[in-house]
């Protein structure tokens, strides 16, 4: 290989090489850091909710009457829904994972308000919630029908709870939590009668994602959550909504949405961000690649005489191709070295300014290989043009 003469040639035509190297370096910094963001978002979005997302439909109901018999309404609504063929289960559940609306509070391990506490998001759910959501009991038991409280007075504390394994671990470590109590800050105890495997919070922006508990409470106007087969899901939405509207003409029924739609809305900013970053990444690589094609073409055009001379004194076509590829490889590699520094600098800046995660070292070799490939692929065309230069050009004057 003719690395030394190529380097000395590059040194005499610095500007073009420096421009390409700078582009490569900036491209690397942008792409690697964009991938860091994308991976971070994708990892967040990939976390399971713990419930059977693709089975569930949520329908809001709002009664306008002054007084509502919540228990009677519950029986009526669930009865009507169960009549519909294809319905696997149905329950009234205050809110759903990743619906972006819900409540959280802290519970203590003893009635002393200074004792250790754990922040949990709580779900107030009807009896059939367990099977509707598809959550598994891991220890103890689920609520009994008679434990469910309908439309409690503001602020009244539930008597029993089923908590997530995650919360059990946080509060009691490896001890069996069943039969233990957790306490409000006013010292009221709630008996833990069981634990379930996994259910995420209604939001992902703050707090531990899986720190949740369930209470056997049905509030007035709690949404109806229906479990259906995913294949039937989309065509059943309208039927479900109409059925509920017919149960009580006076109330407002609407916003029927699949849980997947609800989740998509919650994540829409992240999805959009990832799309934009992906597009920017793609364009950056495209522009840099095209820039290399352009500059290499000019370089070939300017060196036609020299290429012809090389061919005349015995260079084979592959020698010429190899020359240009080697030249580009050297410039790209120089850009990559610069790019590594820039990438780390940008990453450090983004970590401090935007809470970006640290970059995964695996990204570096991958991006190096990728950029080498882009450089060589972009140079291939002009290099082949160069190889096609007629050696007889050497004997022409000018």
């Amino acid at each position: 290989m003719e690395i030394r003469p190529i380097i000395s040639t590059l040194f005499r035509n610095k500007t073009g090489a420096i421009l390409i190297a700078l582009q490569i370096a900036l491209t690397m910094a942008v792409v690697v850091n964009a991938v860091v963001v994308i991976q971070d978002r994708a990892a967040t979005m990939a976390k399971p909710t713990g419930v059977d997302d693709n089975h569930l439909i949520n329908i809001n109901v709002a009664s306008l009457a002054d007084e509502v018999d919540v228990r009677a309404e519950y029986e009526q609504d669930l009865g009507a829904i169960r009549e519909i063929p294809g319905v696997q289960n149905v329950a009234k559940i205050e809110t759903l994972p990743l619906s972006n609306s819900g409540s959280a509070t802290s519970y203590h391990i003893s009635d002393d308000p200074t004792s250790p506490s754990t922040n949990v998001a709580y779900y107030r759910v009807g009896y059939h919630a367990l099977e509707t959501l598809g959550v598994e009991i891991t220890r103890g038991r689920w609520f009994r029908q008679d434990e469910v409280v309908f439309d409690p007075a503001d602020g009244s504390t539930p008597k029993v709870t089923v908590i997530a394994d995650f919360v059990a671990q946080e509060m009691f470590g490896d001890e069996d939590p069943v039969g233990k109590y957790m306490y409000t800050s006013l010292g009221t105890g709630i008996e833990i009668i069981g634990t379930y495997d996994l259910m995420s919070r209604p939001w992902y922006s703050w707090g531990e994602f899986y720190s949740t508990v369930m209470f056997p409470v049905v509030e007035r106007n709690a949404p109806v959550v229906v479990r259906v087969d995913p294949a039937d899901r989309d065509r059943m939405i309208d039927t479900l909504e109409t059925t509920l509207a017919e149960v009580d003409q006076e109330r407002l029924v609407g916003d029927a949405q699949t849980l997947e739609e609800v989740i998509a809305r919650t994540y829409q900013r992240d999805v959009a961000m990832n799309r934009m970053l992906t597009i920017v990444m793609f364009l950056v690589v495209l522009i840099t690649g095209l820039g290399i094609v352009g500059l290499a073409s000019f370089s070939v055009m300017q060196r036609r005489k020299q290429i012809g001379t090389r061919r005349a004194i015995g260079a084979q076509r592959f020698h010429i191709v190899r020359y240009f590829l080697t030249e580009n490889w050297i410039v790209t590699t120089f850009g990559i070295v610069l790019g590594l520094c820039l990438t780390f600098a940008l990453n450090a800046l983004l970590i401090s300014e935007y809470n970006l995660p640290k970059l995964n070292p695996v990204l570096l070799p991958v991006s190096v290989l990728g950029l080498w490939f882009v450089g060589l692929a972009a140079t291939m065309g002009p290099a082949r043009t160069a190889a096609g230069v007629d050696p007889a050009i050497a004997t022409r004057s000018i």
Partner: protein, 438 residues
């Protein structure tokens, strides 16, 4: 001479259509991507009420827990909302030109027209001062009265769209609309009104539409309705009734004041601090005195209306623009140098350095202009995509005249910056060098 150079520039672009397209395309992409992100950023950080944004203030009282501040950042800051009882105490002040406590609350709405289905409409419960304070334009009628504020009168102000839907756009003042099945008398219809960002209640996003109807704040209170928003509590206290909730330390209402003069602002600050000190004596407000009024821009800054994502995108987009410019510099340089022999001939024929510079400057300008137009087109599509991807960005992701002008200017500036070095380089060509054979 300029038209001659323009012609030369055009010919030069046409001679090498692929490379010219590459140069123009690189600038267009750089501008397109940066302008898309910049437009988002610009609208997010723009002043929603330029005429009086420095005279209208969001109020913060530090009624939070003695153990920890509401916000950790900047050494602690008071909560963004107020307790009901504190807001009611502030409403007693006669210092502000206008003031209003408010909350977001939806209603099921219908009219006596049986053909219209009952529908859920978003609403805002507030005081009469809301309308003059925020310069809300009225199409028909006007705000309700102070007396109606106090008596929880069943009156409603409709948005233009709601009035069109319910009453076909007619002057509906005096008509009856049913809100949650209860009759309300229409007192006013407002004209199209959409401050962007929607600064006065950031609980449900800063880029949402204004509410579809407005009722006195006392109405939902009398119906024992909480807010559709965010309620935050710190104190362990027994809340068993709505009255308990109203008297609790939970923060959940927004409070805005208009203070036109510095004297008013000072007086109001003293009033808030006086109130807090009074409450300290009653065992509340145990934190150090930290009560604030924030004008609209300060408020949006404090509430971080422009998200990290958007700032990050702007940073990356501008790095992208730099890459595109480096690209263009390289291509222009190569292109100009490739015609160095020709320039040598022109110089020998008597062209001065400045002639050569002007000739290339015109070409650079042309590339920038074309790139800017291309970039504008791309940002149009970029914003279209953003509108598709974000619900609630409909008002945000639109090209406005300022941004159109900015794109063109930015593109031409970018091209000129990119063309500076190549142009300088080519003017340094000695007439003689390239006349000899190589």
């Amino acid at each position: 001479m300029l038209s001659y150079y323009s012609k030369l520039a055009w010919l030069s672009l046409k001679r090498n259509p692929l490379l010219s397209a590459l140069m123009v395309g690189a600038i267009a992409l750089g501008i397109g991507v940066s302008m898309t992100t910049l437009t988002l950023y610009y609208v997010m950080s723009s002043d929603p009420m330029p005429l009086k944004s420095d005279r209208v203030f969001a109020v913060q009282l530090d009624s939070w827990s003695p153990d920890e501040p509401y916000y950790d950042r900047d050494g602690g800051a008071p909560p963004p909302q107020l307790t009901y009882r504190d807001a009611m105490a502030l409403m007693e002040s006669d210092i502000p030109t206008h003031h209003a406590t408010m909350m977001h609350r939806g209603f099921a709405v219908r009219t006596e027209n049986e053909n219209l289905r009952q529908e859920h409409k978003s609403g805002r419960a507030t005081y009469a001062g809301f309308f003059p304070m925020f310069d809300v334009p009225f199409l028909y009628g006007g705000p309700w009265t102070k007396e109606q504020d106090e008596s929880a009168a069943r009156v409603v102000v409709l948005s233009r769209e709601t009035n069109e839907k319910l009453f076909g756009g007619a002057d509906s003042v005096g008509e009856i609309a049913y809100l949650d099945a209860e009759p309300f008398r229409v007192v006013g219809v407002i004209d199209s009104w959409q401050p962007m960002p929607l600064f006065y209640d950031l609980n449900n996003g800063a880029f949402t539409e204004t509410e579809e109807l407005f009722v006195p704040f006392s109405v939902p209170i009398s119906k024992e309705y909480g807010a559709h928003g965010s309620t935050n509590c710190w104190k362990p206290e027994m809340i068993e009734s709505f009255q308990d909730f109203l008297q609790s330390e939970c923060v959940w209402v927004q409070h805005w004041v208009q203070l036109d003069t510095a004297a008013q602002q000072d007086a109001y600050q003293a009033f808030m601090d006086g109130y807090a000190t009074e409450q300290k004596a009653l065992g509340r407000f145990q934190r150090p005195l930290d009560n604030r009024i924030n004008n609209i821009m300060e408020w949006m800054e404090f509430r971080q209306v422009v998200g990290d994502d958007n700032r990050l995108l702007v940073v990356l987009a501008f790095m992208f623009l730099v890459i595109c410019l480096l690209n263009t510099v390289g291509l222009m340089l190569a292109k100009f140098l490739n015609r160095a022999p020709l320039i040598g001939v022109r110089r020998a024929l008597g062209a001065s350095k400045s002639d050569v510079a002007l000739q290339h400057g015109v070409e650079v300008f042309l590339i920038g202009l074309l790139g800017g137009l291309g970039g504008l087109l791309l940002s149009y599509f970029g914003l279209l995509a953003v509108r598709n991807w974000y619900r609630g960005y409909e008002y945000l992701a639109k090209l406005n005249p300022e941004m159109v002008a900015t794109s063109i200017v930015l593109a031409v500036l970018a091209a000129i910056v990119a063309g500076l070095y190549p142009t300088w380089h080519i003017t340094r060509i000695q007439p003689a060098v390239h006349l000899k054979t190589q």
